[in-house]
Symmetry: C2
Subunit: 479 residues, 2 copies
């Protein structure tokens, strides 16, 4: 068990230093590795496999709503980036510029896409002529680049993977409906697949996307009480359409501008999973995105028949549609247990010679460490049930954690006191004035996370200035 101890000792506890715990888990669970390209990371197999599972399931849900996938160039000529004023101001300071092609300087420099609104607009301008060409509901899975100064694995990186949907519609109503539809899809995905409860709401003007009329967001609360913006959906109205000249001839033969949306989620969802569910033994993965769901660990595997039985069980579980690993390495069982825990595999199945003789095995839940002894013949029936239970329990536990870390502030002293002494969301009323947002940020480092769709009237006045309140806002310190 010495080796075993070493593996676990190698990670800092959450309480001691949450940031270090996070980095330790990323590395020890072999999710990623730093690269010699500054600010960029390597997705190792265990990390990339989570992204593949996220992508496959989200893409399936997209397609059910009529989304079609496309792929646009990764470069944006400078003149194209500059067409929409707010947009270029938001992104120009943080893009990477290509200035040479081969041995020759480019006539016009191009940036590596930080997001592709401008490219989609340029594309739609030619594609859309008539109402028959609408709607366009396109999406792409790709990587984007933003020249961040400070980076953290999965959360903030100079290059990251994401999906970006870009749609064009005949009417403002249709665009608004799609904006909300995708936000709801993201919220359902987070809750049903990642077991992460989210607050749905609208961003304040200060926090909205460069060029958008409205930005909707889903906000999650991490284990340390900090907020993580986990997906956004933007309604552009006809702003980009006017800047780019995207018009169509309607049924009434009149030329009209389209209404556009965009929506995206990124590999930071992996960071959200780590920080919502992880514990001091490492990663805890929701069964639905776990690359390996069951780790079959033979005990005293050199005894005759043990490994064979483990393989047999592994096969039976695979046949039941589960993602299974049989750990037949020559490490000792304690090491294997620690490794399974570090990697966040939802359940392990322990089986030694005496278990096999008694035709039984022990299932151990990663999330609760509960041990469940079952007949070997029943494993393929029981494990899917247990995985379902884990998935549900993880969501409820995360929801309870969020509720326990959501505070209400009715006046500014209360707000500052909560911000200084508690970690979590603070619900408070706001007048709608950016000056109050700025002051709150300066005084407390809290930012407005969103104006939730589920509004509550906590009081009549702004928590900061005391003027009449316009909306309740979720505030928090954010990643």
């Amino acid at each position: 068990m010495a080796e075993d101890k070493k593996l676990v000792e190698a990670i800092t506890s959450m309480k001691e230093d949450f940031a270090q715990w996070y980095t330790d888990v990323c590395k020890k669970a072999e999710l990623m590795s730093y690269s010699s390209v500054k600010g960029c990371m390597i997705f190792k197999p265990a990390g990339y496999a989570i992204w593949e599972n996220i992508k496959n399931e989200m893409d399936r849900r997209f397609k059910e709503t009529g989304v079609e996938n496309v792929y646009l160039p990764m470069f944006i000529p400078e003149s194209l980036l500059e067409v929409e004023k707010d947009h270029v101001e938001g992104f120009a300071p943080e893009v990477a510029w290509v200035t040479y092609g081969g041995l020759n300087p480019l006539q016009e420099r191009m940036c590596v896409r930080p997001t592709s609104e401008t490219l989609f607009c340029d594309f739609y301008k030619d594609e859309i002529q008539s109402y028959r060409d609408l709607p366009k509901v396109y999406n792409q899975w790709c990587s984007v680049v933003r020249w961040e100064k400070e980076t953290r694995p999965f959360l903030r990186s100079r290059e990251f993977l994401w999906q970006e949907g870009h749609t064009a519609h005949a009417t403002a109503e249709e665009a608004e409906a799609r904006t909300q539809q995708m936000l709801n899809l993201y919220a359902d995905f987070c809750e049903e697949v990642l077991a992460i409860p989210v607050i749905k709401g609208r961003k304040t003007d200060k926090e909205k996307f460069a060029g958008a009329e409205a930005t909707y967001t889903i906000e999650a609360l991490m284990h340390d009480g900090k907020a993580l913006q986990s997906g956004t959906s933007h309604n552009f109205g006809d702003g980009f359409a006017k800047a780019f000249g995207i018009q169509y001839t309607d049924k009434d033969n009149k030329l009209k501008y389209v209404h556009q949306t965009s929506w995206g989620t990124t590999t930071r969802l992996i960071g959200a999973v780590i920080m919502t569910h992880g514990d001091d033994s490492g990663l805890v993965l929701p069964p639905k995105v776990a690359p390996v769901q069951v780790d079959v660990i033979p005990i005293m595997q050199k005894k005759a028949g043990v490994l064979d039985k483990a393989y047999e069980v592994g096969q039976a579980l695979k046949a039941a549609g589960l993602r299974v690993k049989v750990d037949d390495s020559d490490k000792n069982p304690g090491w294997k247990f620690s490794e399974q825990e570090m990697r966040g595999i939802p359940v392990r199945v322990e089986m030694g010679p005496r278990d096999i003789e008694a035709n039984q095995a022990v299932i151990v839940r990663r999330d609760t460490r509960e041990k469940i002894t079952v007949s070997i013949d029943e494993l393929a029936d029981r494990i899917p049930e247990i995985l379902d239970t884990i998935q549900k329990d993880m969501l409820e536990r995360a929801r309870a954690h969020r509720e326990a870390h959501t505070y209400t502030a009715l006046n500014y002293d209360e707000f500052k006191d909560t911000a200084a002494n508690k970690a979590g969301f603070i619900k408070a009323m706001w007048c709608g004035d950016q000056a109050c947002e700025d002051k709150i940020k300066e005084d407390t480092t809290c930012t407005s996370r969103c104006m939730p769709f589920a509004q509550e009237k906590l009081s009549d006045v702004c928590v900061c200035c005391g003027k009449p309140a316009k909306a309740m806002v979720y505030w928090g310190k954010a990643y």
Copy 2:
């Protein structure tokens, strides 16, 4: 039928101008669109969906052989690109250089990856310490950039999508086995999924990959008799390992260099599908990669019950696991037929009021235009069989075309005559000297496509210089 005619008239015939026919099909079948980013193209839904099908099936086959997916940064610092001498000479003239991050010039410029050998080596250098860390069999699906001067949709583009596998092994034998295994996987994939027969062989030194000891290739013959390199697999020996210092401690406690391979296929496979199977009515897609396999086209759809029956049939076919579209648009049937043909949908099902009354429908094969009348109740059983037949027939037809366009040249006059007057592969003996390759290219524009694994001894002497021959080579004009 006027509209109908227009759609088909819009494409140039293959005989008249094959290059124009190709471009017309790419555009009219809505596979792609040009972008305002010079040399880069847009993958539209119908084109990207083919790539998704290629990717899903190839990835499944990869994983069966133990491949794990990862994602590495898209940038390569200049100093890293320069570590391996042959490699940098091969790629430096055709990369895009990033010189600014945000508003600041970079201390060291970085290129956008043209291929990722150097990044994988830099990664493996730290990951691999012991024989226990081997083999590494990693792959990534991503885009790469090569600053090409002349571009053509899918075939040659400044940015393209691909997969690149990079492996590290303890022994030379294992690396060689993996190199061949992946080439065989590619060949099987092309034949079984894309219905494209390929010649497997080894590249001459002149044509091999920059930095490789050996490059294996699969070569396909397009409808116009030109060759298309469709996938390559490289054995690097320990060349990169020595340049990058990738060493492991073996079981005997000695420090040894790893042996590496890489292998890739790209979106040019879509070009191969178009040019192998297409005809003057447009695209012809092999059922296994067709995004839509069955187009149900109601005739006189305004008559009561016709559309309902079409939807019902569509549902039944979907339930049978097929990818189905019911064309309920208000275009006339002739237009719909032309569109289905242009898009290469493998079969259409025509059904009008009288058919429905007789409980029958007409299946029309895209590849042969054969019409098969079947009972509506049998559609879900018959169509999968017909799709299987189409898949097989397409492969056999392509194979017959290749055989009919493969020539043998025993002396140089014969070679030049064939090269000047026939389009296709030329099999001829070669002495192994690059001077002869150069001369043949200068005289005929033919390049050596590969030294096939299935060697034949056509004569004892080189077709060019008359010196003793070392190998039979497939020569051809290539894309």
